[in-house]
């Protein structure tokens, strides 16, 4: 019960901070939309067949925009010794990881909710599959992203220049998620493609178990000074 209360307290605190700063919601959402504009403008006028780049554009924008909020999640805790304040809480320190990860997931989900319709509209792309499948896909991809992103953000926060290093450390680990996201998105867009993509879904679930489970067990050592 104490664990859950501490978890809820940290999530509540992150939501309050977000309400006041907009660092993890507003900035990434704007960045994703700006990336969409850049992609659209990057294509010469008159080019057709942009639906071919829909998948790549969507996930590239979401992954890059997401780094802004994720990198701040622990960098913010380093200032004024705030991380010590969290680590002194009378609960297992994995609660800090879980709370920060879940808060990041909420922020990423809101960013996706706001920006994904814009991508569909601009690219003239239909859903091609029931909405719940899109929700499940985006949910699993963003959950994996926030899990690994939170772990890397915690590690980067211990390093000098960690905020700059964050994407460099993160993206190599993110490759399996990118591959799964792209294959599963294509499977949703192509009628009858879901069967072949099932293996990617399993991989994504396994990745989630790995990158939420391992940090949960080792977080105490990750943040040890």
């Amino acid at each position: 019960m104490t664990y859950l209360r501490a978890l809820a307290a940290i999530i509540w605190k992150d939501l309050r901070l977000e309400w006041r700063t907009g660092e993890a919601l507003l900035t990434p959402a704007l960045l994703a939309l700006l990336l969409l504009l850049v992609i659209v403008f990057a294509f010469p006028p008159g080019v057709t067949g942009m639906e071919g780049v829909f998948t790549a554009s969507l996930w590239t924008a979401l992954f890059f925009a997401g780094t802004v909020g994720l990198s701040r999640s622990f960098a913010r805790e380093r200032a004024e010794g705030r991380l010590w304040g969290l680590l002194l809480a009378p609960v297992d320190r994995s609660a800090v990881f879980l709370a920060k990860g879940l808060a990041s997931f909420v922020f990423l989900a809101v960013v996706a909710l706001v920006t994904m319709p814009a991508f569909f509209a601009v690219f003239g792309q239909g859903l091609g599959a029931p909405l719940w499948r899109w929700v499940a896909l985006a949910g699993l991809v963003l959950l994996a992203y926030s899990g690994v992103g939170t772990l890397v953000a915690a590690v980067a926060a211990q390093l000098r220049g960690g905020e700059v290093l964050f994407p460099v450390l993160l993206f190599p680990l993110l490759v399996p998620v990118v591959l799964a996201a792209v294959h599963l998105t294509d499977a949703l867009l192509v009628a009858g493609g879901w069967g072949e993509a099932r293996v990617w879904m399993h991989m994504l679930i396994l990745y989630n178990i790995l990158f939420w489970g391992v940090p949960y067990l080792i977080f105490e050592y990750v943040v040890e000074v």
Partner: protein
Amino acid sequence: MRIELRSVTRRVDGRRLVDAVTLAIEPGQTLLLCGPNGAGKSTLLKVAAGLVPPSSGEVLYDGRPLSRWGPGVRRRLGVLFHESLLYDELTVLDNLVFAARLWGVADARGRAEALVDEVGLRLAAREPVARLSRGMRQRLALARALVHQPEVLLLDEPFAGLDARWAAWLRERLAAERRRGTGIVLVVHEWRWAWPLADRAAVIVRGRLQRLVDARAYDADRFGAEYGRLMVPSGREPCGSMAAGIGPDALGPDGPEAEGMGGAGAEVGEEIRT
């Protein structure tokens, strides 16, 4: 709760920040921890709080190694570091509500509201911390340390930034805590300001415990003279109020942060480094 440090050493990059220190923090007693800048006092507090592990030696809570306690034992600690642990973007009240919830205080909001009144921040309760003055931040950081009514208080420079009125409040508050059975460690430069609270006083220089005295049986001037000698290499004059024998009354009405007073410890620190 009794905290005992047994031959605690903390090394970072080959440097001994704390060097074989043995100390105990007794319930209902106040330990004054003095020393120049960089002596290892703050590191010692972090080791005692379990935030950084000792490179060698042991930290025991009630006779049991810290590693054998569950995380729940941290509920019994209240800390104040140089860093405020506060969120600048959140309001005064939100910071306290968050701390109370994190420590599992039953009526978090009620407790936060009561502390806001106690530390005189009612008018600023809904202001972001970033807008507070240094003294107000310090009062809020103190309230944060007290929010869960801990059994042991580890306070690093608690009088820093406080004016005379709030320094007096803090002395009274700490005296009340001590009567309640709270063990207190005060890391202070201006030790005379806190001397009336002290049961024992320790001097740390370059990570080593140089002196540990029974403050109740010790004259402040005598301690001041000894402290001054420890601070200053032979052949140099001790500086500041520490060795000059200036008592708390002589600090004047403006408290420990008054002009010319706060710098004494820093000067001593500079002497040590040269």
